[in-house]
């Protein structure tokens, strides 16, 4: 007798893929499993928040040591209109990913796929604007962080430090947006395979949580870097 086969749960192949999920046997029920996964995700997000807290700490140190220099440098090197457009687009992407989850909750497969696609579009807009309108011109003109700074027309003695903080904070955030795009791409693939439904959308929820943290970080970065 093969005990492994005897212990395999019976999967009803007549059910759609999203209804076939069986929680691991150490859980009381699927709800407990989903809630535990979500708590685990929140604990990971706590580490992400602390990662970016380091950049906000560097920012605060700059403003403490060189009062008055930040606003002069940021209005000289950065365009708040670009930052503003990116902010609105990221907020929209947060909304669309909530709608993708709603699609799973209400068993509308088209809604999951459409909204994940819209989220990707917003993320792509963010990255393209950032790379083409912010990063590339800066690289060409030598407006680079720290020791790489070669711009001929600096406006203050601490411009290279200002740019260090700008580059590291926005580039790390941009990397998180890019990784988010890859993960949302995976979710689109799973959604196409009917993996998500009212009884099983945990990984979609957790991807949504990650995406919202990326949005929240930008909500703080935008005014601090571009506006004040």
């Amino acid at each position: 007798m093969s005990t492994a086969a005897a212990r395999k749960p019976m999967i009803d192949m007549d059910l759609p893929p999203h209804a076939r999920h069986v929680p691991a046997t150490h859980w009381r029920n699927a709800k407990d499993e989903a809630e535990a996964a979500k708590l685990g995700m929140w604990l990971f997000l706590a580490t992400e928040i602390l990662l970016f807290a380091g950049f906000f700490c560097a920012y605060s140190a700059f403003r403490l040591y060189y009062p008055g220099n930040w606003h002069a440098a940021s209005s000289y090197y950065l365009s708040w209109k670009i930052g503003f457009a990116n902010t609105v687009v990221l907020l929209a992407s947060s909304f669309t990913i909530v709608m993708a989850i709603r699609g799973a909750q209400t068993n509308r497969q088209w809604m999951i796929q459409l909204n994940l696609f819209l989220t990707q579009l917003c993320a792509a807009f963010f990255l393209v604007v950032k790379l083409v309108w912010e990063y590339w011109p800066k690289i060409q003109e030598g407006k680079l962080p720290g020791g790489f700074f070669t711009y001929a027309h600096s406006q203050g003695p601490h411009d290279h430090i200002f740019l260090s903080i700008y580059w590291i904070a926005t580039a790390t955030h941009g990397l998180h947006v890019f990784v988010g795009m890859i993960v949302i791409g995976w979710a689109m693939w799973m959604a196409a395979r009917r993996h998500y439904g009212p009884k099983h959308y945990t990984s979609l929820e957790n991807i949504g949580l990650y995406w919202h943290i990326v949005d929240i970080i930008w909500i703080f970065l935008f005014p601090l870097l571009y506006l004040v």
């Binding site: 007798m1 005990t3 005897a6 212990r7 395999k8 749960p9 019976m10 999967i11 009803d12 076939r20 069986v22 929680p23 046997t25 009381r28 029920n29 699927a30 709800k31 809630e35 979500k38 708590l39 929140w42 997000l45 706590a46 928040i49 602390l50 807290a53 906000f56 700490c57 605060s60 140190a61 403490l64 040591y65 009062p67 008055g68 606003h71 708040w80 902010t87 609105v88 907020l91 947060s94 909304f95 909530v98 709608m99 989850i101 709603r102 909750q105 209400t106 009212p198 009884k199 929820e205 949504g208 919202h212 949005d215 929240i216 909500i219 703080f220 935008f222 005014p223 506006l227 004040v228």
Partner: protein, 197 residues
Amino acid sequence: MTHDPLQDSIDPSETLSVHEAHEDHHHVSPFWPMLWVFVVLVVLTFLTVWTSRMHEIVIGNTTIEFGTTLHILVAMAIAVVKAGLVAAYFMHLKYDKPMNTVVVGATIFAVTLFIGLTLGDLDARRFAGMKDMQYHILGGDVHFDAAGNRVKGKGIVQTAKDNAHAESSSPAAQSHSQPATGDAKPAEAPGAKPGGH
């Protein structure tokens, strides 16, 4: 035939207890309220930009000047509200078990300690270059040569010792000074050397 539990297969529907069979749908995110949250978020973004462009508010006879600090405070207050809306509604914290919110609260506490204590430390170090602050930090042991460079002094410990001796040799302290150095605990150490002078 004895019952062999290893031969049992697990029926998925039996992994839910009877009471919880209907509970696997938790709160479904509603469309219109979420859309409203999005609209409010965009409005708050406009508000952030608008207040950052403002330089003064005139109310009747009073003019409030928007300095940098006020700009930062207003911008951060709006950002906190926006983040709170995203967390409560989009991230579902309002409808989840409280433990998730506790994790967020603990994280905010950790970040506050991180940035707050670091800035406090940095703020104290700012004065390392300022001559008059050094006087207070180093306990009065600060000397400068003619060129204005700091000359190494005798240090805090030696300064404290010298101050203690100076106190003990002053006339006002004369009656208390002798036992302090010489007759310490005579009852306990009869054989001990008298010490001091």
